[in-house]
Symmetry: C2
Subunit: 398 residues, 2 copies
Amino acid sequence: MEFRFSKSVGTLTSSAVRDILKLTQGQEIISFAGGLPAEELFPLEAVRAAADRVFALGHKTLQYGVTEGHVPLREQLCVRMAAKSMDVHPEQMLLTTGSQQAIDLVARVLTEPGDVVLVESPTYLASLQVFRMYGLRVVSVDSDAHGMLIDEAERLMQTLNPRLVYVVPTFGNPTGRTWSTERRKGLVALSQRYGVPVIEDDPYGDIRFDEQLQVPTLMSMQPTVDGGGVIYLGSFSKTVAPALRTGWAIADREVVRMMAKAKQAADLHSSMLDQQTLDQLLQVFPLDDHIRHVSSAYASRMQAMQKELESRGRGDLSWQEPLGGMFLWLELPEALDAQTLLRAAVLKGVAFVPGTSFFAEKPKRNTARLNFTHTGGERMRQGIARLFEAMDEFLARC
Amino acid sequence: MEFRFSKSVGTLTSSAVRDILKLTQGQEIISFAGGLPAEELFPLEAVRAAADRVFALGHKTLQYGVTEGHVPLREQLCVRMAAKSMDVHPEQMLLTTGSQQAIDLVARVLTEPGDVVLVESPTYLASLQVFRMYGLRVVSVDSDAHGMLIDEAERLMQTLNPRLVYVVPTFGNPTGRTWSTERRKGLVALSQRYGVPVIEDDPYGDIRFDEQLQVPTLMSMQPTVDGGGVIYLGSFSKTVAPALRTGWAIADREVVRMMAKAKQAADLHSSMLDQQTLDQLLQVFPLDDHIRHVSSAYASRMQAMQKELESRGRGDLSWQEPLGGMFLWLELPEALDAQTLLRAAVLKGVAFVPGTSFFAEKPKRNTARLNFTHTGGERMRQGIARLFEAMDEFLARC
């Protein structure tokens, strides 16, 4: 049979990151490509004990659950959100299969094909995939070290009538960038003024390298969740473990209700074993201490990678030191196309993600994203050495 | 902010079943409404031990996984599929968050809004929700006790150029109906002749009340998976436990590749804890013995409910005895609208699902779906008694 695939899925390119990961499976390649947390820091014993407490609750724990997600976990998350100055009711929250699913559900309920969505430049790759699959027109707003340029965003709101804005304002992916408070306020105000909902994707916000640093979420800048245009997305993937695939979306309760309707059709509900395990974990495990521990380890890895890059003394390499998160965003010499460099690098045994795929429009070809959380120590140094080897050879040929 | 919701999600009614479940939560209502397996039969200790073996494998078990699903579980499932005369390669299989997600992904990759999808009359409620969300035109094909009427299906293929067919041919939901081999062959032939893919949704196929009964899957009637139009969906929800939210789709590998691309955007991947736990479970747990045990218990419950219905001797009630699965489909007296009856029944403390919601078109209002797997024994008898009370009062008023 000849299958006729839908136009939308035809436009999807498979994620460059995941394709590279597949390519490198089993080979001796040092990868800075994936957005992987450090396995050795996963609270394995605590998760195991939590799962065991779930099973001890008996047979009913293995039954179907509600689409909106395990109520006790939502209640605990509301308490955690309160500590971030977000006053949230469980009915304003939907548990999802990672925050990736939340992006999908928001696009599903708030857009029609052909609508415009505004994003940062560059932005999270897999959000672009969702928006393209729904046939949206993705327009990128010029951004600098402090976040999206608000004047530019306003101009586009006036001229393009966008249906949605998507941002990662804290320790962003891919740039590691943290928006200034002013830009945050600016976007929240625009959202209200022009009636455009804003997805605030915040998977990295807890991974901050300076404990004293207080970064307000966009959602905390609204008077109330109901009636506000911000849709906040959180995730356990970086603070507990990705395998448990649990994220949460917070929004006006009517938006949550519509997302739940869409989710019911999409998969009925997410894993109840995962949700109940996380609920049990939060009841006894000092998650904030754990997050401090993980963040401090990641800060050291970031510093070490930065030092390694600096020590090799290439004046034509630059980056902005991230205040948290998982990524270093490199600007390479102008002459260097990172996609071509990647092929040379993989031959040397090192991988990264060329920056091109993170741009909705006008890609900067001389950019690369390096993950610093997964590979540390001697192996990281070896990886950077290989990367510079590839770069040197490449530039010598130019 | 005034949210403008997409047209597609506006057309979604929340599942009648799940709304009733919500309604009945915490109240003393005997529910035959949900499609819930019997909790007390879940292999809790085996699942617990399997999860524990997963954790014993170390930190890497909590890391991100591949979109297509845990490879060792796909390999074991291929062996299980071979026992059903389906020769499947792991690359022809995608693991999903329950088979509900597979229905969603198939619709996403194989249809455009406005396309026609053919379904049985009546059919699985939540498939209708998916198709409506994607803006498809759902057309129901007249069906009898042996399945879809093939001549009618052919006529519709010739006139409506459908893009997809969706069926539950074995111990179906809601009717409990099992298609004859002839009808199965007929649909597979039509699928090839007219180039229309067929979703064979088979969550209940293993729950058969007569061990000797051999029911061939549609997929096993194709020469090969690649090039064939059948997309087979299986699930652990009824044979192990729903909380683990794991289903699998089998199809031509190009279809699987496209579904995986769509799934990557939808949620990156399903729970790895669930998938690895099921993999460990299958390695040591005698699942087929367990399925025989569960099926035999369900057969007894079905017989008991049937006896209870018969013993009350209403000649104006009829049903077809199911050969497996989880549902009895009642035809009530003509004068009885099951939606109205439900309200009276809930007041008496019993719930079921009115048949109307399972019809894509031309609903038969005097039909009802009763689940017999979740509530057995004295409680089931009490529930049936309440149902008859409601019916009697209702008919007395007519």
